[in-house]
C-alpha cells in the first residue's frame, strides 16, 4: 500500500522557485527571464539574490523566448517563466524556430498548467501544452508530480544540454516524493509494483492515482503504479515491460486526451505490444472557472475516474 497520509501540501511552482534559487547559487551560467509573473512563478528569490542574471521581459512573451535563445547562444542557461498557456501556445513559432530547430539550451518553465489553475478559467487553463511541446523535435517534456520532484527536475534540466519544457502548477498539492531524490530525465519511477493493471500517471494526477491504487488494493486488485514524469523522451522499456506484465493499462494526466501522456503510451503500445488502454484525461473540451477539486471531478480526472477506468480496462482484458 502506498502511504497517502498527507503530511504537507506545497505548490509545485514553489518547487521550481526553490530549484531555480539553488541553481543560481551553484551554476553562474544560469539566468532567468520572466514575463511579468515573477511572484506567480516564485522567481522572486532568484531575482533578489541575482538581479544581474534576472531579466524582466514585461508582458512580451515572444520577445522573452527570443532573448532566451540569444542568451543561450552566448553560452548562458536561460530559464523562462510564465504561465503554461503563455509559455507554449502564445509563442509556439518562436520556440519552434529560435529554440527547438536552433537547438538552443533554453529551459521553458511553465506554471498554472491544466485545470487546477482554478478560478481564472479556460483562457488560462491550457490542456494542450504537452502535445504542442512534445511534437517539436529536440524538445524534452517534463511534468513532475509534487514539490520535491519539481525542485529536483528544475535542477536536473540545467545539466541537460538542449531545449526543455518543464510543466508545473498552482495549487498546494500533497508532497510525497523524496526531498533528496536525484531526478533522472526520461526514467520512469515505479511507485509500487503490481500484477493486474498498470497505471501510468503524470503531474498532479500521480497523487490521484495513488489514492485510486489504495482503493483498488482494498478491492483485492494488484496495481502497478508508475510515474511518467518525462513524457519525452518516453521510457519505452519501462512502459513495455510493465504493460506486458499486467496486460492492461490506464493513463492519467491533467491534459487533453489528444496529444498527452496517454497518446504517447498508446502509440508505443500499438507499435509494439497492443494492450487495452483506458485514458483518464480531458476529452476534447475547454475547462471553466471553479475550484481545482471541483474541476478535476467535473472533467473526469478524479480518483473515482481512475478507479472506474481500471475496472473497465481489467474487464476488457478479461473479456
Amino acid at each position: 500500500m502506498v502511504n497517502t497520509e498527507v503530511l504537507e501540501k506545497k505548490d509545485t511552482r514553489s518547487g521550481f522557485g526553490a530549484g531555480l534559487l539553488e541553481l543560481g547559487r551553484t551554476n553562474p551560467e544560469v539566468v532567468a527571464l520572466c514575463a511579468d509573473l515573477t511572484g506567480s512563478l516564485k522567481m522572486n528569490a532568484f531575482e533578489d539574490e541575482f538581479p544581474d542574471r534576472f531579466f524582466q521581459a514585461g508582458i512580451a512573451e515572444a520577445n522573452m523566448i527570443g532573448m532566451a535563445a540569444g542568451l543561450a547562444t552566448g553560452g548562458k542557461i536561460p530559464f523562462t517563466g510564465t504561465f503554461a498557456n503563455f509559455s507554449t501556445g502564445r509563442v509556439y513559432d518562436q520556440i519552434r524556430q529560435s529554440v527547438a530547430y536552433s537547438e538552443k539550451n533554453v529551459k521553458i518553465c511553465a506554471s498554472h498548467a491544466g485545470l487546477t489553475l482554478g478560478e481564472d478559467g479556460a483562457t488560462h487553463q491550457i490542456l494542450e501544452d504537452i502535445g504542442l511541446m512534445k511534437m517539436l523535435p529536440n524538445m524534452v517534456v517534463i511534468n513532475p508530480c509534487d514539490y520535491n520532484q519539481t525542485k529536483a527536475a528544475t535542477i536536473a534540466i540545467a545539466e541537460h544540454h538542449g531545449p526543455c519544457y518543464l510543466r508545473f502548477g498552482r495549487p498546494k498539492w500533497p508532497v510525497f516524493t523524496d526531498p533528496n531524490q536525484k531526478f533522472e530525465i526520461g526514467k520512469a519511477w515505479t511507485i509500487q509494483e503490481g500484477t493486474d493493471v498498470t497505471i501510468f500517471a503524470t503531474g498532479h494526477l500521480v497523487w490521484k492515482a495513488m489514492e485510486a491504487a489504495n482503493e483498488l488494493e482494498q478491492q483485492g486488485l494488484s496495481v502497478e503504479l508508475i510515474n511518467i514524469h518525462t513524457i519525452k523522451p518516453l521510457d519505452d522499456a519501462a512502459i513495455l515491460k510493465s504493460a506486458s506484465k499486467t496486460g492492461c493499462v490506464v493513463t492519467a494526466e491533467e491534459h487533453q486526451m489528444n496529444g498527452g501522456l496517454g497518446d504517447s503510451v498508446c502509440q508505443l503500445l500499438a507499435r509494439n505490444t497492443p494492450t487495452p488502454v483506458e485514458m483518464v484525461a480531458v476529452d476534447d473540451q475547454f475547462g471553466e472557472s471553479g475550484k481545482p477539486e471541483q474541476l478535476l471531478d467535473k472533467y473526469g480526472l478524479g480518483t473515482v475516474d481512475i478507479v472506474n477506468a481500471v475496472q473497465k480496462v481489467i474487464a476488457r482484458k478479461n473479456g
Binding site: 540569444g70 518562436q94 529560435s98
Partner: protein, 281 residues
C-alpha cells in the same frame, strides 16, 4: 580595412553568386539579397571583428551578426564563404538535398557562421538582444549586429524587442533596417506604411541613423559611425536605404524579384552586368 575598389570587387562577386545560386535551383530570393550585397560585404570585410575558423557558436569577444530576414540567405551564404567560414565551392549546394545551405539559414546542419535559424519573420532582433545581454554579463565589449527587413517590421515581436532594448539600454546592439520599401505583395507604403519610422525608434529610446546601403563607402562610414555611437546608453538603429535587386538592371525597382529566380537568358544578362572579379564558385 579593405579599400572601396576591393570592396566593390567582392560585391560584384557576391552578386554573381546570388544570381547563380538562385538560378541553379530555380528557387530562392534574389531581390533582397542583391539589395544588401554592399552591407554584408562591408560588415564582414571591414566592420566586424571575428574569427571565422574555427567558428565559435558563442562568439565570445567577437562581434556577432544575426540575420532576421532569413530569406535573403543567398547574400548571407556568399558573404560567409568570402569571409572564410567555409569554402565557396559549397555555395553550389544551396537549397539542395543534404546541403548545409538550407533555403533559410539554420544551425542544424552545422554551417559555420550561422548562430540561429531564421525565416519565420520578426524573431532575429529578440535573439540579438539576448546575445547582447549575454555579452554584458560576460564583460565582453564587442557588439551584436542584426539585419531586419522593413516589411518584417510589421511583425509585432519586433516592437516588443525594440521596447525592451530601449528601456533596458541595450547599447551594444547595432540594428539595421533594410529600407527597400518593398515586400512580396507590393510596396510597404501600400501594404502597411511605416509613417515616420525614425521617430518610432526614437520614441522607444533608440539612437537612429540613416545611410545609403548601396554604396560601399557610405556603408563603411555609416557602420563606423554606428560603432562610435554604441555604448552610450542607447541601442543604435540604422535605417538603410537600398534598392531591391541592386546591380541587376531588370530586377531593380520592382518587388516582383523578391522571390523568383532568373531564367537562363536573364542569368546571362545579370552576369554580363557583373563581371567576375575574384572568381566564381
Amino acid at each position: 580595412m579593405k579599400t572601396v575598389a576591393e570592396l566593390n570587387d567582392i560585391v560584384k562577386q557576391v552578386r554573381r553568386d546570388i544570381v547563380r545560386m538562385v538560378h541553379a535551383v530555380q528557387s530562392g530570393h534574389p531581390g533582397g539579397s542583391l539589395g544588401c550585397a554592399e552591407y554584408f560585404t562591408v560588415l564582414y570585410q571591414n566592420t566586424m571583428s571575428y574569427s571565422a575558423v574555427p567558428f565559435n557558436m558563442e562568439g565570445k569577444n567577437e562581434d556577432v551578426f544575426v540575420l532576421s530576414n532569413g530569406h535573403i540567405s543567398p547574400v548571407f551564404y556568399s558573404t560567409l564563404a568570402h569571409a572564410g567560414y567555409f569554402d565557396k565551392s559549397e555555395l553550389a549546394t544551396f537549397r539542395k538535398l543534404e546541403s548545409r545551405l538550407q533555403g533559410h539559414p539554420a544551425t542544424e546542419e552545422g554551417l559555420p557562421g550561422i548562430r540561429i535559424a531564421s525565416g519565420s519573420l520578426g524573431q532575429g532582433l529578440s535573439v540579438a538582444v539576448g546575445i547582447a545581454q549575454s555579452k554584458k554579463l560576460n564583460k565582453d565589449a564587442q557588439n551584436v549586429y542584426v539585419l531586419m527587413g522593413d516589411g518584417e517590421l510589421q511583425e509585432g515581436q519586433n516592437w516588443e524587442a525594440i521596447m525592451y532594448a530601449g528601456h533596458n539600454k541595450v547599447d551594444n546592439i547595432i540594428a539595421t533596417v533594410d529600407f527597400n520599401k518593398a515586400q512580396i505583395d507590393g510596396s510597404t507604403t501600400d501594404i502597411m506604411g511605416f509613417h515616420e519610422l525614425n521617430s518610432k525608434f526614437e520614441s522607444f529610446g533608440w539612437d537612429v541613423m540613416e545611410m545609403d546601403g548601396n554604396d560601399v563607402a557610405s556603408v563603411t562610414a555609416g557602420l563606423e559611425e554606428a560603432k562610435q555611437r554604441s555604448g552610450n546608453g542607447k541601442p543604435v538603429v540604422i535605417i538603410m536605404k537600398t534598392e531591391m535587386g541592386n546591380g541587376v538592371d531588370f530586377m531593380m525597382g520592382s518587388h516582383k524579384w523578391h522571390g523568383i529566380p532568373p531564367n537562363d537568358e536573364q542569368l546571362a544578362s545579370a552576369l554580363d552586368q557583373n563581371i567576375s572579379t575574384i572568381g566564381d564558385y
